[in-house]
Amino acid sequence: MPGDLDCDAVIVGSGPGGSTVADVLTAAGWSVIVLEKGRNHLVSLEAPFDPSGDLSNDEIKFSRRHFLGPDPFLEPRTYRRSEADGERLITGEVNNLPSTVGGGGFHADGKLPRLREEDFHLLSFRGGIDGAAVADWPVQYDDLEPHYAIVERLIGVAGDADANPFAAWRSGPYPMPPGPDMFGAILTSEAAAARGLHPYRAPTGVNSVPYDDRPACNNCGYCGGFGCPIHAKGDPISSLRRALRTGRCEVRPDAYVTEIMLDGGRRRATGVRYLDVAARNALREVRAAHVVLAAGAFETPRLLLRSEVGNSSNLVGRNLMYHFQTFTVGIFPFSLHGERGRSVTHLHDDFMVPDEHALAAAHAAGLPWIRGGTVEHGGGGTPLMESMTYPSGPQHNVSMRDSAIRDRLFAFTMQAEDLPQPSNRVDLDPSIVDAWGFAAGRVTYRPHAHELVASDHYAPLLEAVMQDAGAEFAFSTTSPPQGDLDLHDISPLGIAPASRHVMGTCRMGDDPRTSVVDSASRFHDVENMICADSSVFVTSAGYNPTLTLVALAHRAACQLAAVDVLDVPNSGSIAGP
């Protein structure tokens, strides 16, 4: 390494994408520095790299006090549906994912499905839709399959390879069998199957048996939204520990990256500047041969736009996608005790493949086709969040005791395909700033008619299944909400999309005029910089994005280091606490 460089690669962000790149590059002999804006509550950064012991099943800390960051006071985000709303409609939390060592892998309950073959060539397979930038990916499923297979083993995914008739081909089984089924999902799965649907046990990044020297999940139930106190979840502790153990990885928490530095020709990055938050925000630099952006599909474009880097296509921040969420909720006359075990144990993918009824609904709305998304069967709540959904007054205690929402509610969540639209974007807010004085990220987003038609088409079927399963009644709602804004003050989900599946703001493609990164996730404008988060997604498909973004990050890191598909062996033990 030349003497003026601090490392071979500097990685911005320590979530599932960045930690995977650190794992691969260090195994290939590279030195890396991982910069994480948030604090470290995951793993000691001193050998033997024990878990921090900071995690606890504490609803106040995680759900009410922004323990994993970002604190919306320090880092507000803004949202508007379109320019007609003015500069912004709301300021505060918008699609926040944890800002902490481990990133979004920390709080997720770890539903980790793969995409299907056709998801990578939607334009060729189903055709374009007016008003949407539907395109084929420059990477196809067959290119990614070896990486899917490896990252399922690295994360530790429990699943049944034969259970889902819609699944893409796969080269081998899951490394673990599924964990126990939640009672409510047994009921809804039977009801769904009776209506010709094909529910299956969700592939989940939660240990069902001891794996990678981490314990099996003991079903404590504080899963989605919490950090796992026994590290039975596939949070990024494993990949970060492997990288740290090589002696070639340094993780720097409390490091707020302000700027990407380029050389005089502006075709090569020389490193990044960051503020050392724990040292009174002292300005520091890391000079590196390669730069890896893995800050997530919201913060990565924000950093690029602030640095005025990588945007010759004018597409950085554009084609922002979520999953359009349809929630079909059923209230049952008996306990479902969904607070025990994993948050979701079953999925069905039938709505990813439109049948004649779906196509008829599409045609009636003037669309060539619609696709829904994977449907999660889940339920169970915690008492503090439940209590805030009930009104104050004499009925409060009665509502809490009867617990329709915590103990007797079950929900289908359809994570539906959200078509890319260039007008949906992350940009820099013109006047709201963060605590460091940098422009806040602003979302401009409204769904395409495709999403609304698909939701309206599939919701009645989900309601019927829910009632077949034994619900006294069922109803559906969406996020973002449909209809009149005035009605939404009462929605606990808010006006902005509640989805934490954020994608597409640095889309991948072969043509530098119509994409931001190439098929190797390398920026067209900056030859030694890659993107390792869900910014690169071309379309959103209808599947939780984490496994795919990790597989793409793994592939990009292998190509960067010019190694073959690198199978990093599992290693090391994780003892308590």
């Binding site: 995690l55 106040i60 604190d71 006071f73 320090l74 939640m182 079903n219 008492p383 805030m388 004085g437």
Partner: protein
Amino acid sequence: MPAFFDEHELAIVSAAVDRLIPPNGEGAPGASRAGVADYVDTMLGAFTFDPPRIFAGGPFSGRWGGDASFERWMPLGPMEELAWRTRLEGSQGRAEREFNGPVVGWQQRYRDGLGALGNDFVDVDGDEQDRRLDRDHGFKRLLYEHACEGMYGDPVYGGNRSFMAWDSVGWVGDIQPRGYTDDEVSGRVKTEIPRAR
């Protein structure tokens, strides 16, 4: 000794939150008996403790030594301290707290809100208390959110006294290290499991 309020203010908070979450005739505690006023007081006075009482630590259970408790308060980073001091104390004209404009802190909102409820609040009847609470929906909402936190959060934060709110709704809280068996997850009957502490 209270961390922020005086005894009279504590009594007003107790009376007010009991209108928002009143006891019922079947033994469920109201917010007052569950210790919500102590919760609010600890939160507003969080920085009178060192480390400040914002984030309780982990892990619970005592299985690797120590007590079965979260009571290991975590030091805040400088930006977390900025956020929580501003949220509680307000911006007070300090530039580093006013990057998006002045902030009225929760301490001031409580002082103003309790003042508006009146010194005689604890002595007037329930209907009058409701009328006074309804005069300021912003404060009522803040109070209600904190009442829910103080009822249903972990007792280490000062509320949910003796787990009485959890016990009244059948919530056992953290069940580590026991967890639930697979049958307790998948079975139709909700088997009752005792609290782990």
